[in-house]
């Protein structure tokens, strides 16, 4: 940093009143950095969108940054219902519906179980609860790779290897540590007196859970839901290990479509397929705003 620019940066205090000259050199520098960063983050999305709307001849001769001369939705149609993986040519829709069928039960089941767990750990202390809780936290950090094979054996034993049901179980189990932690910490913040008052009034274990804890914790349920929906939808590892081609979730099928070595590469179809796969978490991101940030921040440090 030169002396000159150093002085420029110092000239307005970071907490001071809004600078009057909107285009001072300092501001140009600051907005310049923000703008360049924004280009870096937006570029791939932009390129994906324009590529997916072009025809293949235009892609072969053109510039990947240029907007389409002729807009066509053909690549999207083909990606959804005609792209091939191996011998199947029914498009990404199969992966999409598989992912939906995995997502809904996994999210509901894991949140139901984890919220009760969190409730028990925060309010109905039992012997060894602390130890139990520490084990769970450590569990959250174990790399998935060390548990992959034992789970294959378990799933084979109960006959769910390769089934969507097996994957639902896997997602539920792996969602447990982080979700339980999330719910326990939230419930622990609800005043103890409420709990005591309810007990005096004769409410039991479930009565307190459904009539006091649940109504007071809607935000944390939304956070947990966001965390699980993005996590499960974006999962690739479990999908590739525990399913077979006809039960592949969307991410696995997408990778197979795009990275297949056979045939001519149809980049427009590939990009449409990629966007289709990213659409669910992206929509969730744009509609949920601040809660999304809380959800992913909570999940940032899991195994």
């Amino acid at each position: 940093m030169t002396d000159r620019s150093q002085r420029l940066l110092d000239s307005s205090g970071p907490r001071g009143p809004k600078p009057r000259r909107r285009f001072s050199k300092n501001n140009i520098l600051v907005y310049g950095v923000l703008f360049i960063a924004a280009v870096y983050y937006l570029l791939p999305l932009y390129v994906m969108v324009v590529t997916s709307l072009k025809g293949m001849p235009e892609i072969r001769v053109g510039n990947i940054f240029a907007p389409p001369l002729e807009i066509t939705v053909q690549p999207w149609v083909k990606a959804w219902s005609g792209a091939c993986t191996g011998i199947n040519c029914d498009g990404l829709q199969r992966g999409f519906w598989n992912s939906v069928r995995i997502l809904i039960p996994s999210v509901l089941l894991s949140i139901a179980v984890a919220s009760v767990n969190g409730y028990v750990l925060s309010r109905w202390r039992f012997k060894g609860a602390e130890f139990f809780f520490s084990l769970l936290i450590v569990g959250a950090f174990i790399p998935y790779q060390t548990m992959l094979y034992p789970i294959v054996i378990i799933l084979r034993e109960i006959g769910l290897m390769g089934d969507l049901g097996g994957l639902v179980l896997v997602h539920t189990v792996f969602g447990m540590p982080i979700l339980t932690l999330l719910f326990r910490n939230y419930f622990a913040g609800i005043p103890e007196d409420l709990h005591k008052a309810a007990r005096i009034d004769g409410a039991g274990f479930w009565g307190i859970f459904f009539r006091i804890m649940l109504p007071m914790s809607l935000p944390i349920f939304v956070v947990a839901m966001i965390l699980q929906v993005t996590g499960i939808w974006n999962d690739f590892l479990f999908g590739v290990v525990y399913t077979r081609p006809d039960t592949y979730p969307m991410t696995v099928q997408l990778n197979n479509i795009v990275n297949s070595v056979q045939g001519i590469k149809e980049y427009n179809v590939n990009m449409a397929a990629t966007l289709l796969t990213g659409l669910v978490p992206l929509v969730l991101y744009f509609i949920s705003g601040k809660l999304f940030v809380r959800g992913i921040a909570a999940g940032a440090v899991k195994g």
Binding site: Q6, L9, D10, G13, P14, K18, L34, A37, A38, Y40, Y41, L42, L43, P44, V47, M48, I59, R60, N63, I64, F65, L136, I137, G139, F141, I142, P143, Q145, T146, M147, L148, Y149, P150, I151, I153, T172, V173, M176, N234, D235, F236, L237, V241, T251, L254, N255, V258, N259, T274, T277, P281, L282, L284, Y285, I296, A297, A300, V301, K302, G303
Partner: protein, 276 residues
């Protein structure tokens, strides 16, 4: 369910560790072979390349993500017009899966039709940007995509940390005539140590798991030049039918995670217990 979780997590992990000392191949067997698998592992070029790649990727990604995340957060913290819009733009890649990230960047970095061809088309014929097909640069290509996906999260964590800093600190620094950059480096960053540690753990645990991104971008190629440990584990367990190697490699991964996590857990949770 919670009990099932613990049985799967603890039991499964122990099972894997125990079986890493056997010579299991197609099926897990308890024919103990001592440290054979580990000796083989550390004598395999593919594993050594994986470790090298992970170190390079890990170090650079840690450094760059922290610097980019903190810089963007520090700028956004200075009462910026359109802060929300910028924040939304920086974070959205984090909502996307590594597969989507990898495929998008694979297309942008495509040597025949991507950035390279565009710049050459503008008249700069000798321009070359083809990291994914060169063994020496492939990890940097993966790095660009990884940072694109993950730095927004770190920016958010840092921004939350910066917002938690008392405005009086800034006033005091100003009164003492300390420059902005110096205030950040000497006062604010040291104050944000816990935030940096959280960010560090988040980045580090993500780095060790690096798998999907590599599969989508290069599938380990060219040759074995972008292999990573997590991929090694999967390949040996489910494709090469050499379970023992897979178990030994995954145990090494567990060990490295524990080296990072245990001190942090101790600081985070062990410390709090003493306060009570």
């Amino acid at each position: 369910m919670i009990l099932v979780t613990l049985v799967v997590f603890i039991g499964g992990t122990l099972w894997t560790i125990i079986h890493s000392f056997t010579s299991s191949r197609l099926l897990p067997k308890l024919n103990f072979a001592g440290l054979d698998q580990y000796e083989r592992l550390w004598g395999t070029r593919r594993w050594l390349v994986s470790i090298d790649n992970l170190m390079l990727y890990g170090l650079l990604s840690l450094l760059l993500t922290l610097v980019i995340g903190f810089t963007l957060a520090a700028i956004l913290d200075r009462k910026i017009r359109g802060e929300n819009a910028f924040r939304t733009i920086y974070l959205y890649p984090y909502a996307l899966s590594y597969i989507v990230t990898g495929l998008a960047w694979q297309w942008i970095l495509n040597p025949d039709l991507g950035i390279q061809s565009v710049v050459r088309g503008m008249g700069w014929q000798s321009f070359s940007l083809n990291p994914l097909n060169n063994p020496d640069t492939v990890m940097y290509g993966i790095l660009v995509a990884g940072i694109w996906q993950g730095s927004g999260l770190i920016m958010i964590i840092m921004l939350a940390g910066l917002r938690g800093i008392d405005a009086d600190i800034w006033k005091a620094a100003k009164v003492d005539g300390i420059g902005t950059i110096k205030t950040y480096l000497r006062i604010i960053v040291p104050m944000m140590r816990p935030v940096f540690i959280t960010a560090l753990v988040a980045i580090a645990s993500g780095i060790i798991k690096l798998y999907d991104l590599v599969v989508a971008l290069t599938n380990g190629g060219p040759g074995i030049s972008s292999e990573v440990p997590a991929k090694y584990v999967i390949e040996y367990m489910f494709r090469a039918q050499n379970l023992g190697q897979g178990f030994a490699a995954s145990t090494m991964m567990l060990l490295s995670v524990m080296i990072i996590i245990v001190p942090w857990l101790y600081l985070e949770y062990g410390g709090r217990k003493n306060d009570r």
